[in-house]
Amino acid sequence: MQPFTTLTATAVPLRAENVDTDQIIPARYLTAVTRAGMGEGLFALWRYRPDGSLNPDFVLNDPRFAGAQILVAGRNFGSGSSREHAVWALTEYGFRAVISPGFADIFYNNALKNGLLPITLPEATVSALWDLLEAEPASLIHVDLAAQTVTLPTGEQAAFAIDPYRKHCLLHGLDDLGYLLSKEPEIAAYEARQPLALVHA
């Protein structure tokens, strides 16, 4: 996993609540057996017109936001399906962080496992950020994971919370698997003492 330490980047204002994972990547893009290629399906229903051409009214297609690495969205981002493809689509497109007043649990976990930093900020901060980005699309946002702060284009700093273990993994690019594999003796011991009622016939 790519480590996440600091990021200074422009951001896209996505003024929508409850952006579910079917919006992030529709099911018809899930037919691959690899991770690659998901970026093409990102926000497909909003990004493309029915004839396949780019929809100029969708914010991601606004050339002023080209190259943005931070997405700023409304509450309950990533709700719905557990598809990790949603995270793969966001990262392949080039996003490194998503700011929202609240993330759905499964999406939040999936993001952390792929080096995509989910940043929870208050509703009022997100709303102000939308106004600011729409007025000044070139505004830079600075994220410092170690300090758990976001420096807004106004110079204001906003703090965000993150589980210390998850933070450590992101900072060092570690995934859970190595840690879990190191627990093999404990796992075997657990299995040996597990109540029979929890074992399949």
């Binding site: 079917d22 899930l30 409304g74 990790e84 649990d105 499964i106 009622a197 929890l198 016939a201």
Partner: protein
């Protein structure tokens, strides 16, 4: 795992019994008893195992079926779209190479993973169950702790039979009183989500309790737990009781003989203790519930059949106002419009929420001797081959077909439109599934979520009606 005599909730008991290790400053290492996999979210996890040279740690606790992408009209894989066929072939190869039991579409057992697991008795009280699918919450109906995971986590469970998990908080949803005629489990859960919001359960595990819940069949309990995720909770649980045990007894993977007695004795200890506390609580008066219909693009946007779509002025929260405006624009509906009478072009009866035999019996009861309205395309997709066979043995297939419904093979179908069963742009779908997201049932499709009774009534009338007038 000692509890020092402190009263605990059902969730806490199951959680405590599965903590393998808990390092300071790290999430718990949680043991997973049962891992269900399907063709869409597993291939990248198996690829990771191959890359790292890892084995599946417990193939005996891993069960696979194919449901998301499979066609429901055509069993011959050589005639399938190439991508769906490729996913199914990849799953077969992975299951063969890693020694995993696969309930293949070519075999006698297959269907939606959340229908097949329970009907085989793989789903058992007190166990931890995961699957790369958010509707894994369904299995909580048995008093299991069951939740959806991403593909990275599918890989972790394949390799170690464990997951790193932060302990969620507990949320009691108590439903009391007798349901009115024509009001079903689907209406209970849609009402809960309308009340508590699509993200109201974030960070929590729901426990559904109270006299109404205790009176429900296992199929109905599964309908409720299934949609916990639509209420923002990863998992929802119901304490196992005599209804649970009667359902499980004799199923192929259920314990037998002395093991059965031991298991039931253990399962009886799982219910939330007297005096245990929850982090949050919600009370629902079942006697006040009506059949529910969603009008928007998130599952919290639902109202009773006698109600109407809210107006922007009635909502205080700017985010909710924004959601309403964008939802109505997508849905082609008006503020303040009554939901009774909304147009219906397509009816879909199926999905892991409502495709069990009880659901089909309910829908058939409405359809019997009636006709699907002119211009309406209506399909029934049973949840599994077993459900389909049972329905055919009862003659339900004939009732549906004589009325003008299509009768299909088992799978997820138009719930997520991964296969050929797609609603067209702008079409209104009266659907028994769980998600009314934009484009979920096909690009541009407009979903109206409701119970099987209500969907059957909508098929007959070609618009949303109050099914209670037909009972």
């Amino acid at each position: 795992m000692t509890n020092n005599g402190r009263p605990r909730t059902l969730f806490e008991k199951v959680w405590d019994a599965h903590v393998v290790a808990q390092d300071e400053g790290a999430p718990a290492v949680l043991y997973i008893d049962t891992h269900l996999i399907h063709e869409v979210t597993s291939p990248q996890a198996f690829a990771m195992l191959r890359e790292r040279g890892l084995r599946v740690r417990r193939p005996d606790r891993t069960f696979a079926t194919m449901d998301h992408a499979v066609p429901t009209r055509q069993v011959d894989i050589s005639l399938w779209p190439a991508d769906a066929a490729n996913q199914v072939r990849t799953l077969r190869e992975n299951c063969r190479d890693f020694g995993i039991t696969l309930f293949d579409i070519d075999g006698p057992v297959q269907g939606i993973v959340h229908v097949v697991g329970p009907e085989l008795g793989i789903t058992q009280p007190g166990t931890t169950i995961v699957c790369g699918d958010s509707h894994t919450s369904t299995h909580g109906a048995f008093g299991a702790l069951a939740f959806g995971i991403g593909t990275s986590e599918v890989g972790h469970v394949l390799a170690t039979q464990c997951l790193l998990q932060t302990k969620p908080k507990t949320f009691a949803i108590t439903v009391e009183g007798e349901l009115g005629k024509g009001v079903t489990a689907k209406d209970i859960i849609l009402a809960i989500i309308a009340r508590n919001g699509a993200d109201g359960g974030r960070g929590y595990v729901f426990e559904y309790r109270g006299s109404t819940i205790r009176g429900l069949s296992m199929a109905n309990r599964m309908t409720i737990c299934n949609m916990s995720i639509e209420g923002g909770a990863r998992a929802g649980m119901i304490a196992p009781d005599e209804t649970t045990f009667a359902y499980l007894k004799g199923r192929p993977y259920a314990p037998q003989g002395a093991d059965w007695d031991r298991a039931v004795a253990y399962w009886r200890t799982l219910a939330t203790d007297e005096g245990a506390t929850f982090d949050r609580e919600l009370f629902i008066d079942a006697t006040q519930l009506q059949p529910m219909v969603t009008y928007g693009t998130n599952p919290g946007q639902g109202v009773p059949i006698t109600g109407r779509i809210p107006t922007v002025d009635e909502l205080e929260d700017p985010a909710q106002r924004r959601s309403l405006v964008s939802a109505l624009e997508y849905m082609g509906l008006r503020q303040g419009q009554p939901v009774e009478g909304l147009p219906v072009d397509i009816v879909f009866i199926g999905s892991c929420t409502n495709s069990r035999i009880e659901d089909l019996r309910q829908a058939a009861q409405i359809v019997r001797g009636r006709r699907v309205a002119d211009g309406v395309w209506a399909i029934v997709v049973p949840g599994s081959k077993a459900v389909k066979a049972q329905a055919e043995a009862e003659g339900l297939d004939r009732i549906f077909q004589e009325a003008g419904f299509e009768w299909r093979g088992a799978g997820c179908s138009m719930c997520l439109a991964m296969n050929e069963d797609k609603a067209g742009p702008g079409k209104y779908v009266a659907s028994t599934s769980n998600r009314n997201f934009q484009g979920r049932q096909g690009p541009g499709a407009r979903s109206l979520l409701m119970s099987p009774l209500m969907a059957a009534a909508a098929a007959v009338h070609g618009r949303v009606v109050d099914v209670r007038e037909m009972l």
